[in-house]
C-alpha cells in the first residue's frame, strides 16, 4: 500500500506573484526582469499529481501571491512522522544549493543540502538537472515583460529525507530569493 501523502498549506507564506494571465490582465514577475509563467498552461488552485505525488498547486488566476521566494521562511507542518518531503519549484539564473533546517517535535534539528536547478536546465543549452530532481512539468513558453517567449522551461521536484522515527515540526527554507517554491507534500 502506498504511503499517505499530505499536501502542506503554504498559502500564508507566499511572498511573490509569478504567474501571469494575459487575458485576465494579471501580470506576475518572478524576478527583476519581468519573467513570468503563463497561468493558462499551469494548474490553478487544484491538486495535481506529478510523479505519483499529489501537490496542492496555488491558485494563480488572481492578483494574490502564488509562490514562495526562499528567504529562510519557516514552514510548520502537522506534527507527524514523515519519511520524506517533496518540493515543487525551480531556480532562475543558476543552479542553487543551500541548507534547509529540519526541526523535530523533540527539539532536535538537522540541516540538509537542498538544491534546485535552473528552470532552463532541460533544454539543449541547459546544464541538465544538477540536484537529482524529477521533472514535474515542462512549460513550452513564458513571458518576459508581457512578451511571449517560445522556449522550454520546467518545474522540478526535489526530495528531502526526514527521520521517520521523529515527529516533524517545521522546515526552515534556504536563503536564496531566486529559488521558487509552489508546493510541498509530506509523505508518511
Amino acid at each position: 500500500m502506498a504511503n499517505k501523502k499530505v499536501c502542506v498549506d503554504l498559502s500564508k507564506l507566499f511572498n511573490n506573484k509569478g504567474v501571469s494571465w494575459i487575458g485576465l490582465g494579471i501580470a506576475g514577475s518572478f524576478d527583476h526582469s519581468g519573467i513570468s509563467v503563463p497561468g493558462e498552461i499551469l494548474p490553478d488552485g487544484i491538486t495535481v499529481t506529478w510523479c505519483d505525488i499529489p501537490f496542492q498547486f496555488p491558485k494563480t488566476s488572481s492578483i494574490e501571491n502564488d509562490h514562495i521566494c526562499c528567504e529562510e521562511q519557516t514552514i510548520e507542518v502537522d506534527p507527524n512522522s514523515y519519511r520524506q518531503i517533496y518540493v515543487a519549484g525551480f531556480s532562475l539564473y543558476g543552479d542553487y544549493s543551500d541548507r534547509v533546517w529540519i526541526h523535530y517535535e523533540d527539539g532536535s534539528s538537522e540541516d540538509k543540502e537542498f538544491g534546485l536547478s535552473d528552470w532552463y536546465s532541460r533544454t539543449e543549452a541547459g546544464n541538465g538537472l544538477k540536484h537529482s530532481e524529477q521533472v514535474a512539468m515542462m512549460i513550452p513558453y513564458y513571458y518576459e515583460n508581457g512578451i511571449k517567449i517560445q522556449a522550454m522551461r520546467g518545474i522540478w521536484i526535489q526530495r528531502l529525507l526526514i527521520d521517520p522515527n521523529k515527529k516533524l515540526h517545521s522546515i526552515r527554507l534556504p536563503d536564496n530569493p531566486y529559488m521558487f517554491i509552489f508546493a510541498i507534500t509530506a509523505e508518511e
Partner: protein, 330 residues
C-alpha cells in the same frame, strides 16, 4: 570546390558540475587550447577578484582580467592585429585557418541553433574555422550551446553586425609551464583574494568588507541595479572559473598527499559562489519589491566575508604544503 574548414576544435573537458561555469567565449578559448592537447584551466589559475570603487562602482577586476593575461603569459597566445573591416567576407581569405583561431561576436537572435534565435538579442561568441567561397558559407563552432556546421555567410555577417562587430584572431598556443607555475599562480590568487587599498578604491577582501560597511547606509533609490547585476555576475564568474581550475588540479595533477586539501577547498569555493549568488539575487529582488533589506544583505555579506577568509586560509595552507613538496604543473 574548395572548402576550407579544419573542423578540429576539441570539446573542452569541464570538471565543474555546473557546465555553464564557463561562458560562451571561455568555452571557445578552452576549445582552441584543448585542440593542441594543452590543459586550458590555467587560464583561470588566479581568476579571483573583487574591486570596489565605492557606491555603485564595483566589478571583479581593477585592471585586466587574469584570464586574458594568462592567455598570453601561460599559453603564448597573441591577438593578431586586424584592421577594421566592413563585411566578414573581406576577412575570410586572410585568416590562416591552419594555425589561427578566428572568434567573432554575433547577436544570438540571428543564430539558428541558439535558444534566443528569433526572439531575444544577446551577444554571443563563436569560432569561425572555415569558409567555402563557392557556396558562400562559413563553418562555425559553438560549445554553449553545442553546434558545429556550415552557415550562409550573409546570416553570419548580419549576426556579427548586430552583435557589436567584435573579432579576435588568436595565434597558435604553446604551453609555457614551469615547475613553479602552480605556486606562482596560487600566490597571485592569494594576493587577489586579500586585496589592496588604492586612492580610487579597494580590492579583494578589503573591498568586500568596505562594501559591507557602506551598504548599511544605502537606500533603495541609491541602486543602479544594472551595474550591480553586471558587477556581481563578474565576481561570481571569476570564482566559478577559478573553481574549475581547482577541480582540474584536484583531478589531474595534485599529489595524493594533498588531494584531500583540494577536495575540501572545492567545497568552500562552491559555498562562496553560492553565497554570492544569494547576495546578488537578494539585491535584484529588492528592485521588484522596493524593499531593500539592509540587515539581510549585510548578513549575506558577512557570510561571504567569512567564506572568502576561509578560501584565503586554504591558499595559505596549500602554499605551506608546497614548501615541503615539489609541485607539478600538468
Amino acid at each position: 570546390m574548395e572548402e576550407i574548414a579544419k573542423n578540429d576544435m576539441k570539446k573542452p573537458v569541464v570538471y565543474h558540475p555546473r557546465k555553464n561555469s564557463l561562458n560562451c567565449y571561455e568555452y571557445l578559448l578552452a576549445s582552441f587550447i584543448s585542440k593542441y592537447d594543452f590543459p586550458y584551466q590555467w587560464l583561470f589559475s588566479d581568476n579571483w577578484g573583487f574591486y570596489y570603487a565605492y557606491g555603485n562602482e564595483f566589478s571583479a577586476w581593477m585592471g585586466d582580467c587574469p584570464r586574458d593575461v594568462n592567455l598570453t603569459k601561460i599559453y603564448g597566445v597573441t591577438d593578431t592585429f586586424v584592421p577594421e573591416f566592413r563585411h566578414l567576407i573581406q576577412f575570410m581569405s586572410k585568416v590562416q585557418w591552419d594555425e589561427e583561431c578566428f572568434i567573432i561576436s554575433a547577436d544570438a537572435i540571428e543564430l539558428p541553433w541558439h535558444p534566443n534565435y528569433t526572439h531575444t538579442s544577446s551577444i554571443h561568441m563563436v569560432i569561425v574555422d572555415g569558409y567555402c567561397a563557392e557556396k558562400g558559407e562559413a563553418h562555425v563552432v559553438d560549445w554553449f550551446p553545442e553546434y558545429s556546421g556550415w552557415i550562409p555567410l550573409r546570416i553570419l555577417d548580419l549576426a556579427w553586425k548586430k552583435g557589436n562587430r567584435m573579432h579576435s584572431v588568436f595565434s597558435k598556443p604553446i604551453f609555457i609551464g614551469t615547475n613553479s607555475l602552480l605556486v606562482d599562480q596560487l600566490k597571485l590568487c592569494r594576493s587577489n583574494m586579500a586585496g589592496e587599498q588604492y586612492d580610487h578604491g579597494l580590492t579583494g577582501l578589503l573591498g568586500v568588507e568596505r562594501l559591507k560597511m557602506d551598504i548599511i547606509s544605502y537606500n533603495e533609490s541609491d541602486f543602479d541595479y544594472d551595474k550591480w547585476w553586471a558587477g556581481i555576475f563578474q565576481v561570481i564568474s571569476a570564482r566559478d572559473t577559478f573553481l574549475e581550475f581547482i577541480y582540474y588540479v584536484h583531478n589531474e595533477i595534485a599529489e595524493s598527499s594533498i588531494k584531500e586539501m583540494y577536495a575540501n577547498f572545492i567545497v568552500v569555493i562552491n559555498n562562496t559562489v553560492q553565497t554570492w549568488m544569494t547576495f546578488r539575487n537578494g539585491i535584484m529582488r529588492s528592485k521588484l519589491t522596493k524593499d531593500f533589506q539592509i540587515d539581510k544583505n549585510v548578513e549575506r555579506l558577512e557570510k561571504i566575508i567569512l567564506l572568502e577568509k576561509e578560501c584565503l586560509e586554504f591558499i595559505d595552507n596549500l602554499l605551506n604544503a608546497y614548501k615541503e613538496t615539489e609541485p607539478v604543473y600538468g
